[in-house]
């Protein structure tokens, strides 16, 4: 039985970072707003409370905060010759569930992309000539960094980011990242103190002429009140950030930054356990009329009419909903036509583990965004023509936790159980550190999302299919990072050093965790033939549909995506408020 709910002005699909941001911004316009969240409601206390939350087995290993594949997953294959199979056991990426979404279980690393990244295709062509491989489909963002800057700034001040500015209005600031795009003012909070591993890395990097700076992150270094009068308390470095909700009001999340303020708005409502099945279109297909969702509490399908539909779910779900609803033409890699599912991208990382017999790192002290970074190998600083790849990476060293199950770095060859393992743990726990390279990933014709021809989800909808593999360009990028990191590691003189960099020919493996930085699939652009949404994140064909999130990235940045996701959300919110609401129409 289906029921129809009372019409709203705006329906938000998903109540994480972008849902909360758009909810707050549009609620200020006096619109009637409804956010639909497929998961449960959750808040710091009681859901993340101490000591229940700091349970590595429940949340770190058994993934208590993540979506359950049995409730819906996607299928994955590495190329068009393989048959995609359902991702039944979460491994390489971990989509979150519940109010706050991935914004509750992230590490907090918050960045703005580097200047070259906003116009990567034209930058590459202009600076290095015709070097872009045929199957590489990278493209420019349709807006400039200067246009986005106020919105990055806004997000950083709402979320509550700790960090050290390196470039304020073009003036390089000592101690910050000299390569960052100029920011209009400092971070809202001073940087966190680094642990010993970050200090060692920073010293070694400086000795080699690099430019270390404290890692920027949504971890409060002091008490903080944001523009919505929401609060954070200083972090105690407990080390339970990624995969966990913060019990301490210290990690920026929709809960700490927005939600309680939004709940005070009488024109805002949210419903949980409501899984949006599709966006409904008008008879002429030119607008959306609302969404149909499955209400888990009553076990029925519900039609929710709305004037504006904004997809604010995780990037993969945004794309899935567009494919299911016929919002934009699905991408076909054979003809290279269509836009939805195009330019799916991911992240490529690598790093070294260094063992020091005589160093004690106290790994149980840490935060998700801890440590020191360098950006000397960021995209702006790499000669793509000379090095033979397009891309870059930032490096970081800073321990995030000392949890006993997943954070026991042991030298290669150590038995994985029994007396030998115990002996090695006794010998090495607390005596190792990591240096990571967090690399970009370009977009390609062969990496894309579409609907699976075979597998259905529990609601009978076709699952989404991911076709993705590592490509030579990016593997070359990460090998380059290894070649540059090796001498730095040697200079630090560890007793043992072992690397974890992918080699040429590496194939995508869904089992080990890599990152949850799934991007693209509904990218923003100036050309409706190569982008699913325009520069205001508005669907080209249905002007009252907007799509937030990392699905808008034309290719993945070398950084963690949240800062860009937040910046784009504020950018879109401003244009919806100023340009769209007074006169609803295609804005481009």
């Amino acid at each position: 039985m289906a029921r129809t709910e009372k019409k709203k002005n705006v329906v938000l699909v998903g109540f994480g970072w972008t849902g909360a941001i758009l909810g707050m911004e549009l609620a200020q316009e006096g619109l009637e707003i409804l956010a639909l969240e497929r998961g449960h409601d959750q808040n710091t206390v009681p859901d993340f409370q101490y000591p229940n939350m700091i349970d590595e087995l429940k949340y770190g290993v058994r993934l208590g905060m993540m979506q359950k594949p049995r409730n819906g997953t996607l299928t994955i294959r590495r190329d068009q010759n393989e048959t995609a199979l359902p991702y039944r056991s979460l491994g390489t990426f971990l989509p979150g569930i519940g109010v706050g979404g991935a914004g509750t279980h992230w590490n907090g690393l918050n960045w703005r992309p580097m200047q070259s990244e906003y116009h990567l295709r034209s930058y590459t062509q202009e600076k290095f000539g015709n070097i872009i491989p045929d199957d590489m489909t990278i493209q420019d963002y349709p807006m400039s960094y200067a246009e986005l800057e106020p919105h990055f700034d806004r997000f950083e001040y709402v979320a509550g980011i700790s960090g050290q500015a390196g470039n304020i209005n073009g003036k390089v600031v000592e101690g910050g990242n000299p390569f960052e795009a100029p920011r209009s003012r400092d971070y809202p909070m001073p940087p966190m103190h680094s642990t010993w591993d970050g200090k060692k890395f920073g010293d070694a990097a400086r000795a080699m002429g690099y430019h270390p700076f404290p890692s920027p992150g949504g971890i409060a270094s002091k008490d903080y009140v944001n523009e919505y009068n929401m609060q954070m308390g200083p972090c105690n470095h407990c080390g339970f950030c990624e995969r966990f909700g913060c019990y301490n009001y210290s990690k920026s999340s929709p809960q700490t930054a927005i939600i309680d303020a939004l709940k005070r708005k009488k024109n805002f409502e949210y419903r949980t356990n409501c899984d949006v099945l599709r966006v409904e279109k008008s008879a002429d297909g030119k607008t959306a009329t609302g969404v149909t969702y499955y209400d888990e509490k009553t076990g029925e399908e519900v039609f929710q009419p709305a004037d504006i539909v904004i997809l604010t779910a995780f990037s993969l779900h945004n794309v899935h909903l567009m494919l299911l609803s016929g919002i934009g033409k699905p991408y076909d890699p054979v003809t290279n036509e269509g836009v939805v599912g195009r330019n799916y991208s991911y992240q490529l990382t690598g790093g070294y583990t260094l063992f020091f017999k005589d160093e004690n790192f106290n790994p149980f002290i840490g935060t998700g965004a801890n440590g020191m970074c360098i950006d000397d190998f960021g995209m702006d600083n790499i000669d793509f023509a000379k090095e033979g790849f397009i891309g870059g990476a930032y490096w970081r060293s800073g321990q995030t936790n000392g949890q006993p199950i997943r954070s026991m770095s042991l030298p290669a060859g150590t038995p994985s159980w029994g007396a030998g393992w115990k002996k090695a743990v006794g010998e090495w726990y607390g005596h190792s550190m990591n240096i990571g390279a967090h690399g970009s990933l370009m977009s390609y014709r062969g990496n894309y999302l579409d609907l699976d021809p075979t597998y259905k989800d529990p609601r009978g909808r076709a699952m989404m299919r991911m076709t993705f593999n590592w490509q030579p360009n990016d593997l070359k990028m990460i090998q380059f990072m290894k070649s540059k990191m090796e001498p730095l590691v040697k200079s630090m003189n560890p007793d043992i050093a072992q690397d974890g960099f992918k080699k040429d020919g590496a194939m995508f493996d869904v089992r080990p965790y890599q990152t949850t930085h799934n991007t693209g699939g509904a990218v923003t652009g100036d050309d409706p033939k190569t982008s699913a949404i325009n520069r205001y994140l508005q669907a080209w064909d249905q002007h009252n549909v907007f799509v937030m999130g990392a699905s808008a990235f034309p290719q993945n940045t070398q950084y963690n995506p949240t800062g860009m996701v937040g910046g784009l959300a504020y950018w879109a919110a401003e244009h919806i408020r100023k340009d769209y609401l007074p006169n609803p129409r295609p804005l481009v």
Partner: protein, 439 residues
């Protein structure tokens, strides 16, 4: 002999007559303290504002009930008092009351039929309210509140408290002063606005003044030395507001005003009854009014200003040293503190900003009655969502994690740690508070 009997007889008769008169002669009701012009109309919103200032809603609304429909149980040492329906419903509420009836309830504590109200209704304090505010409040209840038919349970206290006429004598002691507000001459407008709110509608003294032998407020205005020097409510300590160590004296005026408006400031958070007062009453006052209250409280402080100044270099206390060293053989109390509390409140006991309240010098921690502290450790505390600070920040409870003995050790440590000096807490104290939750 006969003469003596006659005299005695006359005395007995006189006594009976006096008693009958005491019981049956109607109580004199106080009239308006100001004659308002016939066309006086309260400003829009004034009545609701006075209601917020007087916090009528909190007591006269039951958990989950309709606003002002009464039926809430107020625990008193004499027994349970059920609050009345003050909606304009004619049958079960105050719909038939005239302005004079209404004023008499607020000034004299009597209902239209002459029944005495129990002084859980703070007419000792409301007696100071202005005629303008009384009229505005009456107008609000008659015209802006929805009538709700709700017959509330009648209050039945045990003997002798069920003899309501006895309150007449009590009123001679407690509420016989001349009604209306007397500003302090020579003080500025802000002081007198604060004084009016504190002494009158705000009825702060109902909790924060001690009670005398007759259970009347010992000090209903600042001419009394004991006014607002700390009282008790349902076994919980309502802290002193005037001594040098008290919040309003230690904090800046802005910080006190922030506490009143948001239940939190850079030092502390409101818990228990005070949290409810912020939630239902003070957060709705204007910034100017909360500043006036804060400024007034500061001015009637009994300590010197110098006492408030923090030392230039923070002193590292022995407690902080012990917690920082964290020796495995440290006593149970501080060990539990490190395992459960230190992550937010820190080894300094200073907490952080408006997020984590400081425990060193916190009036809840060092209160005469440890009940409030124990209750927060057991059940946690949640701040109300307010316009200036919308976040319902919440400390979780430890009732399932810590035993009575452990909480006693922890609470004792808190009461003796840093610069705190308050008596120890026993496991029996904890058990008593824990058992309350099971009722």
């Amino acid at each position: 002999m006969k003469k003596l009997v006659r005299v005695l007889g006359v005395l007995v008769v006189l006594g009976i007559v006096a008693l009958l008169a005491f019981i049956f002669v109607p109580v004199q009701r106080t009239g308006p303290v100001t004659q308002l012009s016939a066309d006086f109309k309260p400003a829009k919103g004034q009545g609701e504002y006075v209601m917020r200032a007087g916090d009528c809603l909190a007591c006269h609304t039951n958990e989950g009930g309709k606003p002002f429909a009464g039926g809430r149980a107020i625990q008193s040492p004499m027994g349970t008092i059920w609050t009345t329906n003050i909606t304009p419903d004619k049958e079960t509420g105050i719909g038939n009351w005239s302005l004079d009836d209404f004023r008499a309830a607020l000034y004299d504590g009597v209902t239209p039929n002459g029944t005495h109200l129990y002084p859980a209704m703070p007419y000792e304090n409301y007696r100071k309210m202005s005629e303008e505010d009384i009229v505005a409040l009456y107008d609000y209840f008659m015209h802006e509140v929805e009538p709700v038919s709700n017959k509330v349970e009648e209050t039945r206290l045990g003997f002798p408290f069920n003899m309501r006429f006895g309150l007449r004598a009590w009123n001679w002691l407690a509420a016989s002063y001349q009604a209306g507000f007397k500003p302090t001459e020579g003080q500025d407008e802000q002081f007198n606005r604060g004084k009016y709110l504190v002494e009158g509608a705000g009825h702060c003294a109902a909790c924060h003044s001690p009670r005398n032998l007759f259970m009347a407020q010992d000090g209903i205005d600042d001419t009394s030395k004991s006014f607002l020097t700390g009282g008790e409510i349902d076994g919980y300590t309502a802290p002193d507001l005037r001594g040098p160590a008290s919040g309003p004296q230690k904090w800046t005026t802005e910080q006190t005003a922030a506490y009143l408006a948001t239940a939190r400031n850079a030092h502390s958070t409101a818990t228990g009854e005070m949290m409810l007062v912020v939630r239902d009453s003070l957060q709705y006052l204007t910034h100017e009014d909360n500043m006036a209250i804060a400024a007034y409280l500061k001015k009637i402080g009994t300590g010197s200003d110098k006492a408030a100044a923090a030392p230039a270099t923070p002193v590292v206390t022995e407690t902080e040293k012990m917690l920082t060293e964290a020796k495995p053989d440290m006593p149970l109390g501080p060990r539990l503190y490190l395992d459960n509390c230190g992550g937010c409140h820190f080894v300094t006991g200073k907490g952080a900003g408006e997020t984590f309240p400081e425990l060193d010098g916190n009036s809840l921690v060092t209160a005469k009655s440890p009940k409030g502290l124990i209750s927060v450790i057991l059940h946690g505390a949640e701040l109300p969502s307010t316009a200036d600070r919308p976040m319902k920040m919440r400390m979780q409870g430890y009732d399932k994690r810590l035993s009575d003995e452990e909480i006693a050790a922890l609470a004792t440590f808190l009461r003796e740690g840093w610069t705190n000096k308050a008596p120890a807490v026993s496991a029996a104290d904890v058990k008593a508070v824990r058992d309350l939750a099971h009722h």
